[in-house]
Amino acid sequence: MIKLKTPISEKEIRKLKVGDEVLLSGIIVTARDQAHKLMVEEKPDFIRDYLDGSIIYHCGPVVKKEGNGNWAFVAAGPTTSSREEPYQSDVIAEYNVRGVVGKGGMGDKTAEGLKNHGAVYFHAIGGAGTLIAERVTKVIDVFKLEEFGTPEAFWIIDVKDFPVVVTMDSNGGSLHKKILETSSEIAKNII
């Protein structure tokens, strides 16, 4: 098992290969549909320092406000990444992002972006909401909560040993592409 902590260097990221199981730690940022649209259309600066050398997590969490006014994550598994396909590559380049965590994999445009900028796609376990929330040790800050709502806001979180698998690396390797090809071949035979 490989352990990585943000910020991550390009050199470290380029060493990762499809199939590597990784435990992620450090500060990462949740962002999904509205956040990605905003990052491409308006390029806001409030998120810049957090994303530099760090990781975007495709996640719309269940959160609670504790007695002391701090936020805590209650359930926080990944959401489907393909919805960010139109934006992801540009966001990676603009904000110097080193990795994306989500589920379901992403397309050719993102694969190209990962290769060009030195980043990888990590797959988290869809639906493992409670388990992953336990690995979120602290909510550092939140942006756009009022405007976007809980699932769509930018949550800045500190994670410890968040379990993920590399399914798209920075050398063009993609497990999703491979599974699509082999399963399509099998389907052709049984249909």
Binding site: G19, E21, Q34, C59, G60, P61, V62, V63, K64, V74, A75, A76, G77, T79, T80, S82, K103, G104, G105, H123, I125, G126, G127, A128, G129, T130, L131, A133, E134, F148, G149, T150, P151, E152, P163, V165, T167, L175, H176, I179, L180, T182, S183, S184, I186, A187, I190, I191
Partner: protein
């Protein structure tokens, strides 16, 4: 009749406590996967998560889904009373973090913040001849809903005709296209016949069946078994990362169709198969 608290408890149970049939199916799948494989690791994590969510009474999945209620109520019941209780319980469940706020206005983009909105939660009402009330709840996640699809037979590209052979072909095609996106291993609901709307509705209602329960219709039972085997040959595996388990079960239902139409709807339910039933009878409250 006291409705509010029992419905709140129904929501809590559905979101945090996976039904036994689904958990057992995942355990069987875990045991079938190759030792130490990614597929087996994924299923082990899923099982750990199910246990944790139950112990902590927190959502199994952060996408607590769209709330779909199916209510069978006695002749003297009033729909408004159920609607009122459901809205109260949905808001309370959101405050208690059993639910994520999941009702978004598509025009303004604004999240209502409490799961209440136009047709949210959605309630299917059915008046029946019994004295008891049965309230069934399904929490349907957005990722799995997005991979649901509808076919119009015949389908030339798939060489699928207007018969059960054609149904088999389009069901395989739907699961192939879904890959891991709907949080595989999924449960596949198939609706044959009806119009476009009732066809989808029928495919979704299949999810109230128990995974260990066989289809009483022998022809459909056979097709369910064939499809289960075929789909698990695809190698898509848990989360689409490869493996022997692509589906945990296939359910098929039919209804009469118009002579000119032959719809087959496929609904996909993620492994976080959240459905529960609440029965109210003579002041007694039962959950299943």
């Amino acid at each position: 009749m006291k409705l509010r608290e029992p419905i709140l408890e129904l929501i809590r149970k559905t979101s945090t406590d996976l039904s036994e049939d689904a958990e057992n199916a995942i355990i069987r799948a875990r045991d079938k996967e190759q030792n130490q494989s990614t597929a087996q690791n994924v299923l082990n994590t899923i099982l750990e998560n199910i246990k944790l969510a139950r112990e902590k009474s927190t959502p199994i999945c952060q996408d607590t889904g769209a709330l779909l209620f199916y209510i069978d109520y006695p002749v003297n019941g009033a729909e408004a009373e159920y609607r009122d209780a459901i809205n109260w319980a949905a808001e309370k469940a959101t405050q208690l973090q059993y639910l994520r706020p999941n009702a978004v206005n598509p025009i303004t983009g604004k999240n209502s913040g409490n799961n209440i909105g136009l047709n949210a939660p959605y309630i299917h009402f059915n008046q029946w001849g019994k004295n008891s009330t049965r309230i069934r709840l399904m929490l349907k996640g957005g990722g799995s809903e997005n991979v649901g699809t509808q076919y119009k037979l015949p389908n030339t590209a798939l060489k699928a005709g207007r018969d059960l052979g054609g149904v088999r072909k389009v069901a395989i095609d739907a699961v192939l296209k879904a890959q891991g996106q709907g949080c595989a291993p999924g449960i596949i609901g198939v609706g044959i016949g009806g119009d476009r709307m009732t066809s989808y509705a029928l495919s979704k209602e299949q999810f109230f069946r128990n995974l260990d329960q066989k289809n009483p219709d022998i022809e459909l039972q056979k097709l369910e078994k064939t499809l289960y085997t075929d789909l698990n040959k695809l190698g898509i595996g848990p989360m689409g990362l490869g493996g022997a388990t692509t589906t945990l079960g296939v359910y098929i239902g039919w209804q009469h169709r118009h002579p000119a139409t032959y719809y087959v709807s496929i609904s996909y339910m993620c492994w976080a198969y959240r459905k529960k039933t609440l029965t109210l009878q003579n002041g007694e409250v039962l959950y299943d």
